[in-house]
């Protein structure tokens, strides 16, 4: 049994999955629009939350998992069927039932347990979204947005991945859009998403969030060699790179995707200035990547600049300054556009 479904490779699993499910139901929204309307753009440095064996502080470049789905539903009028299961057998039965009903269904999985992924990319991350669109014998047909082509996965392997343990354990979660409007005017949702991003990056009165969070991280990174010693400082920097460039789409990837969204928003809202903001944010993505590259070299002990931690902090401050200027301009453009 196979539901006709168009596989599309995406930039980030959650946004690509949501866009593909909505497109299948006839709602024409693309991945950057899902990211923007879903208020996915974010930054937080949360030192009191430790990850990876509780050793390293959490740094996140996107809204928390699930937030994009919720915001997209609220703003586009989509009602999601979104459930978890204590019992793995019931979780697999529920998946089979929705496939039998002809519904391509997203499941949350642990990346490490998906055998079709190349070894280099199988790490312990439990919030990976894939779409199941068919079943043949003991195998499921999967559209994994990470890959260029659809893949197959055995029932046992998929069940194991749906019940991976640890942080963000999927608990057999599955979801699909139960109610989708036939058409939607994107202007209101796009404007709401932009306002949220401006608020999150500029206005949250907490020094660890938004551009202030980036500046706080800069200060902390600069002090790592003195406070932690060279070995632990290098490990911390390595952890930061993994968060930046490996888990999900990372800092640079999200900046590139939001840059694409700003470009689309310019057309949807008829505000030309957003195209300029789009180009500038894409350029900030390149600076985040430059930061990741220097951090990677520092962690590996490769030849780097003099005083690499000072330079890393400088790059972070540069990103913060430029993002602050961009979102202030976006705010002003929205105000003018509303007038």
């Amino acid at each position: 049994m196979q539901i006709p479904f168009r596989h599309v490779q995406g930039a980030h699993c959650e946004t690509a999955t949501i866009a593909a499910l909505l497109q299948h139901q006839g709602l024409q929204v693309n991945e950057p629009q899902v990211f923007g309307v879903g208020s996915g753009y974010f930054f937080a440095y949360l030192p009191f939350i430790k990850v990876t064996d509780k050793k390293f502080p959490l740094v996140t470049f996107r809204a928390q998992p699930g937030a994009i789905l919720k915001n997209v539903g609220r703003r586009l009028g989509v009602k999601w069927h979104d459930v978890t299961f204590k019992d793995p057998a019931k979780a697999m039965d529920a998946l089979d039932r929705s496939l039998d009903a002809g519904i391509p269904t997203a499941v949350q999985t642990g990346v490490y347990w998906l055998p079709y992924l190349p070894g280099a990319f199988r790490f312990h991350f439990n919030a990976h979204n894939v779409i199941v669109y068919g079943r043949e014998g003991d195998e499921y047909l999967l559209s994994d947005p990470v890959l260029a082509e659809p893949v197959r996965c055995s029932r046992a392997d998929l069940q194991r991945a749906r019940y991976a343990r640890g942080d963000m354990a999927p608990n057999g979660r599955l979801y699909y859009p139960a109610v989708v409007p036939r058409q939607t005017d994107l202007r209101g949702p796009v404007r709401a998403g932009l306002k949220d991003a401006c608020f999150n990056m500029l206005k949250i009165p907490f020094p660890l969030i938004g551009v202030r969070g980036i500046r706080r991280l800069a200060k902390v990174v600069q002090g790592w060699p003195r406070r932690l010693g060279p070995e632990m400082a290098a490990l911390n920097v390595g952890h930061l790179v993994l968060l930046l460039e490996e888990i999900g789409t990372g800092g640079a990837g999200f900046r590139f995707m939001y840059g694409a969204f700003l470009g689309e928003a310019a057309g949807i809202l008829g505000i030309d200035g957003l195209s300029d903001a789009s180009r500038r944010l894409t350029a900030v993505g390149d600076t985040w990547r430059e930061f990741a590259l220097l951090a990677s070299r520092t962690c590996k002990g490769r030849k780097v600049v003099e005083r690499p931690y000072d330079r890393l902090a400088e790059l972070l401050r540069e990103c913060a300054d430029r993002e602050q200027a961009i979102f202030r301009d976006v705010q002003a453009l929205l105000r003018r556009g509303a007038a």
């Binding site: 490779q9 280099a120 890959l147 640079a252």
Partner: protein
């Protein structure tokens, strides 16, 4: 862009600080990254390659999924650059 695979071979060697003997173990069709690769490169090396490609050819590999696809081999990376340059 004749000989792009050869240029990319030199780029990968320099970006990842590999010696000639190690670089000689990889063909144009071998995986570049991961345990399946004769080079044994990891995701941090992937970042080096992605950045070097952008600097040298002006082609941005803008997310991890594209990296997974195009870093499958020197040949696939070369094809990707040719396509992107043609589209620019």
């Amino acid at each position: 862009m004749e000989g792009l695979e050869k240029e990319l071979r030199a780029l990968v060697q320099k970006a990842c600080d590999l010696d000639d003997a190690r670089m000689a173990t990889v063909t144009d069709d071998d995986p570049l990254i991961g345990p399946e690769s004769p080079l044994g490169l990891d995701s941090l090396d992937a970042l080096e390659i992605v950045t070097a490609v952008q600097r040298q050819y002006g082609v941005r590999i803008d997310n991890q999924n594209t990296s997974i696809r195009v870093l499958q081999s020197l040949r696939i990376l070369a094809d990707f650059i040719r396509q992107e340059k043609a589209a620019q």
